[in-house]
Symmetry: C2
Subunit: 248 residues, 2 copies
């Protein structure tokens, strides 16, 4: 798949993804830009069935976690770099939010490169946004040490089927020239009218007994109570991994 | 440039990057995966010379900010989506860290897609890690409203020269099978020996009057005092933009 015609793949064939191919994908993905060439990221590869079953609950048992041949957990990682510093009479100072954010950005640039290269090689992938919800569980399951935070998960395998490509808002909606312009009601209507007119959108509204598609997002899919709860959990995970000091 | 032979470009020719090309790059980049298809990101395009001069100090006056034809500030953005919710009788609840982290991940997947597509089209890019250091300044300069956080900046233009490709550690160093393995001293040595043997590394050590390359990172380039300072600034910016509640 090219970037233009790509779509997330949630159903995989039984074909094996070779270790050579996977290593070459991650190796090439490392060419992504990164801060100070510190490469503050790690990729945990899950192929073992028992490990997949341990990981699945953290992802709310989305079936891809156990059905995909490969599950990659992409982490911000200042542990390895700090280990090197300690071996070289240097005192690392990366136990803070700025280091976490920098490592996270670099880890996500790597993640998108892994996705693009895998798709070019005929594989299909799906990102799991659940990784930041249940980071503590994933930390336990993957034995992640201090200064390593899981951020996103990619399930990967050869596509068993090719779904429809999802909609996007017009590109004019995400671009701002020189400064951020406030959106007028008319512009909001224009940006979202295609999405709202889709049959699947209408079905979502009906199934959830809501008045608008936006209410499906705010009341059902991403309610404030859940986001607030998982925010507290995420901060706990950052503290546990040493990116926020104990007393803060 | 392909992903494999890419390198960051810091010197640009005078050739104009057309608005059509830039729009088509960002449009195609929107095919990146994103959470719930909410597309919680924005791209602020800076072409105006006066605006570049205003932005430059936030990036410690790195010359690319004023010399590149185009500067893109990539933001996590829950403002637009919240505006849509408000227009549709839905109460948005994205004023929390979990929403910030989710939007950040999606914004960075978009950012890497923009980089990959731009390079495929013959352009050169450089990411600026300074964006998260001085987020407050950038928020002011670009008039970013509540729930919009700048995360990274891409300078872009046609390459004026093609620098050497930087080193990377062996891919085995960033991969972990099934669970995170602790690095032994021998493995750390093996991962970093090539980097440490480079002429430019030796020059860095000498110029900075240090004993090891790691000390150049911990004492000169990324000292704990600076990371701690910029962590406090970043939290201030998150609070100002509404991702952390005032009382927290």
């Amino acid at each position: 798949m090219t970037i233009k015609d790509r779509r997330s793949i949630r159903h995989y064939s039984a074909d094996v993804v070779s270790e050579e191919l996977l290593n070459s994908i991650i190796d090439e993905a490392q060419r992504a830009s990164n801060t100070g060439n510190m490469q503050t990221y790690s990729v945990i590869i899950t192929r073992d069935e028992a490990q997949k079953k341990l990981l699945a609950p953290a992802h709310f048992n989305q079936p891809m976690v156990t059905s995909a041949p490969i599950v990659l957990t992409i982490c911000a990682d200042f542990h390895r770099f700090s280990r090197w510093c300690e071996e070289r009479c240097a005192i690392p100072g990366f136990d803070n939010i700025q280091s976490f954010v920098g490592a996270s950005i670099d880890a996500m640039l790597l993640a998108q490169n892994i996705a693009t290269i895998a798709e070019r090689e005929g594989l299909g992938i799906c990102f799991l946004g659940t990784t930041t919800y249940n980071a503590l569980q994933i930390i336990e399951t993957l034995h992640l040490p201090r200064l390593v935070m899981p951020l996103t998960t990619i399930t990967m395998g050869y596509p068993a089927s090719m779904p429809e490509q999802p909609d996007r808002i017009p590109v004019s909606g995400i671009i701002h020239n020189e400064t951020y312009r406030e959106y007028t009601s008319a512009e909001i209507n224009a940006l979202y009218e295609q999405k709202e007119a889709r049959d699947d959108s209408k079905k979502f509204i009906e199934e959830n007994n809501k008045e608008t598609l936006a209410q499906v997002f705010t009341d059902v899919r991403y309610p404030k109570s859940a986001s607030d709860f998982f925010s507290v959990e995420f901060i706990k995970a950052l503290r546990r991994q040493g990116f926020i000091a104990e007393e803060q």
